[in-house]
């Protein structure tokens, strides 16, 4: 008797919950191709242009019914694009793309967002580290998800033995650096640096910039699967067109752009997101992008990155940069539409 009631109760609960599963009525299919964009991280204004384009319907105008899926610490964008789980990806960077291709993943990059290295190494101005050589024997934390290569490259170019530097994995929080337990911390110009500046005075900080030491690692790469690139070139072009438009308009209306991102994640800190947007755009409009447009692919910078990765055994064999990075789709869009 009681068993039956119990089972009925469970069944009711299950049915109620299952009812949540039924998908909403399908949007009218006006020749709209369903696609998804997988970001490399949680929603933030680093990706504002895409959210702006989505909100303003630019993708719809290109015939794309786009869903933006955030990334996160346990997701690898290259993997999700390669297996077809997502159509487009904004992935880690030139390093992760080439490493993925080296491992046989059938992906190709169709655009590069950040033209210069987004990482910067921060230390206290009044601390023991005054030059790159001073890194020796000090506690340096970095992320082993790409930033480490930048660090290795900088040390290598200056002839510093990286084994002499106490390189440790970086914590989630910048607190150890703020407290003085760490000598040098890795930050991105648009994210952690703002956090640090919020807790220490900007004047107290000293930066080690990769480009000053001959290292450039373009990051935030737009990727698609080889399949998509071959079979749906219009889709890729349309996506790029709408995204570039989204970014240009987002920068023309920064407050609105921040509003749109905050709508997806209301618990974000507004001031932080505004600073992030400005810095992210700076990275996107540096280097060749100024003259050749947003998301431009710079074969020179990428070739240097490839050689560096090969030398450091990240790649097991040469990766043909001209095959890994395909700018056909970008070039199909007129130049003036691509300029920032």
């Amino acid at each position: 008797m009681t068993i039956r009631r119990l089972l009925t109760l469970l069944a009711c609960t299950a049915t109620l919950a299952v009812a949540q599963l039924t998908p909403a009525a399908a949007a009218d299919a006006k020749a709209q191709v369903k696609a998804s964009l997988r970001l490399k991280w949680l929603p933030q204004t680093q990706f504002a242009g895409f959210y702006y384009a989505l909100e303003k319907g630019y993708y719809k105008q290109e015939g794309i019914d786009l869903t933006i899926n955030p990334g996160g610490p346990n997701l690898l964008t290259e993997n999700l694009v390669a297996t077809g789980a997502d159509t487009f990806g904004l992935s880690g960077g030139s390093d992760s793309v080439m490493a993925a291709i080296d491992k046989g993943m059938p992906i190709v990059s169709v655009g590069v967002a950040h033209q210069i290295t987004p990482f910067v190494f921060v230390t206290r101005k009044d601390g023991p580290v005054k030059t790159l050589k001073d890194f020796e024997g000090k506690k340096v934390t970095t992320w082993f998800t790409g930033a480490n290569y930048v660090l290795f490259g900088m040390l290598g170019n200056e002839g510093i033995d990286r084994a002499k530097v106490d390189i440790q994995p970086q914590q989630v929080s910048v607190t150890p650096f703020v407290n003085g337990d760490i000598d040098v911390v890795t930050a991105t110009w648009y994210n952690e640096l703002n956090t640090i500046k919020g807790r220490m005075r900007a004047d107290d900080l000293k930066y080690f910039v990769a480009e000053d030491y001959g290292i450039t690692f373009p990051r935030d790469t737009l990727i698609v699967s080889r399949d998509t690139a071959a079979k749906q070139p219009q889709l890729v072009e349309g996506f790029l067109r709408a995204s570039i438009r989204g970014w240009r308009d987002a920068m023309a209306n920064p407050k609105e752009a921040v509003d749109i991102v905050m709508k997806t994640s209301p618990t974000l800190d507004r001031a932080h997101q505004e600073a992030m947007l400005t810095e992210a755009y700076r990275l996107m409009t540096s280097g060749k992008a100024k003259t050749e447009g947003l998301f431009t692919i710079d074969p020179v910078a990428l070739q240097k990155a490839e050689e560096f990765l090969l030398k450091n055994n990240v790649l097991t064999k040469k990766v043909d940069v001209s095959v890994a990075f395909d700018d056909r789709f970008l070039k199909a869009i007129p130049m003036q539409d691509r300029l920032p």
Partner: protein
């Protein structure tokens, strides 16, 4: 005696059939369907990787095992002590039990970011996390076990003038051991998993950290290798506690 060993041998054989069956299916699927490595590598490749990387995996395993075992015993001890204490103070129990259950209802992983902020990314934070996870389970099981005593036995002892403490020690605690042991048994695997999950949010070593690194280095064979090793260790841990339980809790 021989009937017993015959039965236990048959159990092992049946268990082996199941496991071997799955392994064969897996290997066949990976090979016949020619699955790419990043979807599902074949068992043989994973085993080969384990052998090739055995030093790295062993070091990582040692760290995770240390975190899991230390946290397991710390948590179990605290859980048992708390359960006995609360049983001895029924009034405190009525107030504290709902609060403890409320605290337990926050899934352990929700505390991980906080614990990592407080204790850093070293092994200490993982031990704390495991202790919390194991402690609550053991606490609840022990509490339930201490309650499972026949009312009449309690009344009988009382009528003989036994003090509350004596009732606890002589009657309730022995009666609670099976359920407590069950709680500890269930917690062995959780201990490893909590340690690994916490490591994936921030660590300097261990199997969870290895998995995290391997995902980012797009080395999925390594991911599976670490998972296999973690599984194996959990099973050994589980089997060990199981064996101890069988030896010392010979009545059920």
């Amino acid at each position: 005696m021989s009937a017993r060993s015959h039965a236990s041998r048959r159990t092992l054989v049946n268990g082996a059939i199941g496991i071997v069956g799955v392994i064969i299916l897996w290997e066949a699927a990976a090979r016949l369907l020619d699955l790419p490595v990043y979807v599902l590598p074949s068992v043989s490749r994973i085993l080969a990787a384990i052998v090739a990387q055995h030093q790295l995996l062993w070091n990582a395993a040692l760290m995770t095992m240390w975190e899991a075992i230390a946290g397991f015993f710390a948590g179990s001890a605290v859980g048992i002590v708390l359960a006995i204490a609360l049983t001895m103070m029924p009034r405190a129990r009525r107030v504290l039990l709902p609060m403890a259950t409320a605290l337990n209802s926050v899934p352990v992983v929700a505390y991980a970011p906080l614990i990592l902020l407080w204790f850093g990314i070293g092994p200490t934070s993982k031990i704390v996390m495991v202790a919390i996870a194991v402690g609550f389970t053991v606490f609840l099981h022990a509490l339930s076990g201490l309650d499972r005593v026949d009312r009449r036995a309690v009344d009988l002892m009382r009528s003989f003038g036994a003090s509350p403490a004596a009732i606890i020690w002589r009657l309730r605690v022995p009666a609670a051991i099976p359920l407590t042991a069950a709680g500890m048994r269930v917690s062995t695997v959780r201990a490893m998993i909590v340690a690994i999950v916490t490591e994936m949010l921030g660590a300097t070593g261990g199997l969870g950290w290895t998995i995290f690194q391997a995902v980012l280095q797009i080395d999925f064979v390594q991911v599976w290798a670490a998972i296999f090793v973690a599984s194996a260790i959990s099973l050994v841990f589980f089997g060990g506690v199981n064996m101890l339980e069988k030896r010392y809790v010979f009545w059920k």
